[in-house]
Symmetry: C2
Subunit: 204 residues, 2 copies
Amino acid sequence: MKIILVGASGTIGRAVGAELERRHDVVRVGRSGGDFRVDITDSDSIRRLYAEVGEFDALVSTVGKVHFGPLERFTPEQFDVGLRDKLMGQVNLVMLGLASIRAGGSFTLTSGLLNDDPIREGASAAMVNGALEGFVHGAAVELSRGLRINLVSPTVIEEALPVYAPFFPGVKAVPAREAALGYVKSVEGVQTGRVYRIGWSRDT
Amino acid sequence: MKIILVGASGTIGRAVGAELERRHDVVRVGRSGGDFRVDITDSDSIRRLYAEVGEFDALVSTVGKVHFGPLERFTPEQFDVGLRDKLMGQVNLVMLGLASIRAGGSFTLTSGLLNDDPIREGASAAMVNGALEGFVHGAAVELSRGLRINLVSPTVIEEALPVYAPFFPGVKAVPAREAALGYVKSVEGVQTGRVYRIGWSRDT
């Protein structure tokens, strides 16, 4: 398969790339490095990426920024960061990729646990992750040509603990190579409209 | 309690108002009618509403527009309708209401079942409903002064079937007065960070 990996140089992206390249042709994409570049907040940049790469079988996104901060001081502009980047950036990778993905192909996006397992300063991340779950559920029932879409929702990544540990007291981390399994399951499996929770489970 | 009801003239809003006014002082707010008017997509309009109404004990929102349409033809502008109106409109009712809600007060917002029980043409509604769930979970753990926040997620409303029935094949509707129970539970109860699913349950 020809797999476009957006966020290839990130903590999760590197692990996903290392696993997928054993069996597939991985096209590495980043904001500032890789085989191709993209700014996911810019539709024209996404269009250029797909024009350059041509037909493909799978799009994997391991990117997306959100702002973290105390709820009572959140501004509309800070909520917008997550809506424009992690949410609509990934959604637009799907929407604009529909024209050049081959039949039977798949989209795999990334969220995180905060919509179900909230933390201090994480209201925007919780909002965006919930939105991604909703979108993936909603899109999966409408995709044609055997196309599939899934979401990987990892817990904190071990390699990122130096930065994130203070925000996640008592949360067990997983190594990036474990999170990578969710992407492999989505790309090489047959399911659609699923949320692969890595290292945590929803409390319902 | 002094309760601000945004969307008071809508199908759900009327049922919620009828139930809450038996025991409370209900301030009815709408886009074009009621005791006060508000455009929830306009932060200045929301600020004016709160300045006019003064201190209050509960904010109930039963409003929010999203665009429905086939996934493959969705434009960024159509996704924006739901993000600006049903999502950030309701979120801004919370954020801007923090300054004048009394200690122990509550916010109650409205989503719907589509993020977990998707239908054709409902990708944006699914996205927005999921985002609202995430936000309510995230906000609940950070609110101070005993403030609470919950979400009511009703199935299709019986009174709205003439418009919505074609979109929801096989979905059992509930009368608006049954959906109203969720709002009563949120306003008069003690829970926070909860999603009250009315007439349906999540399949997990």
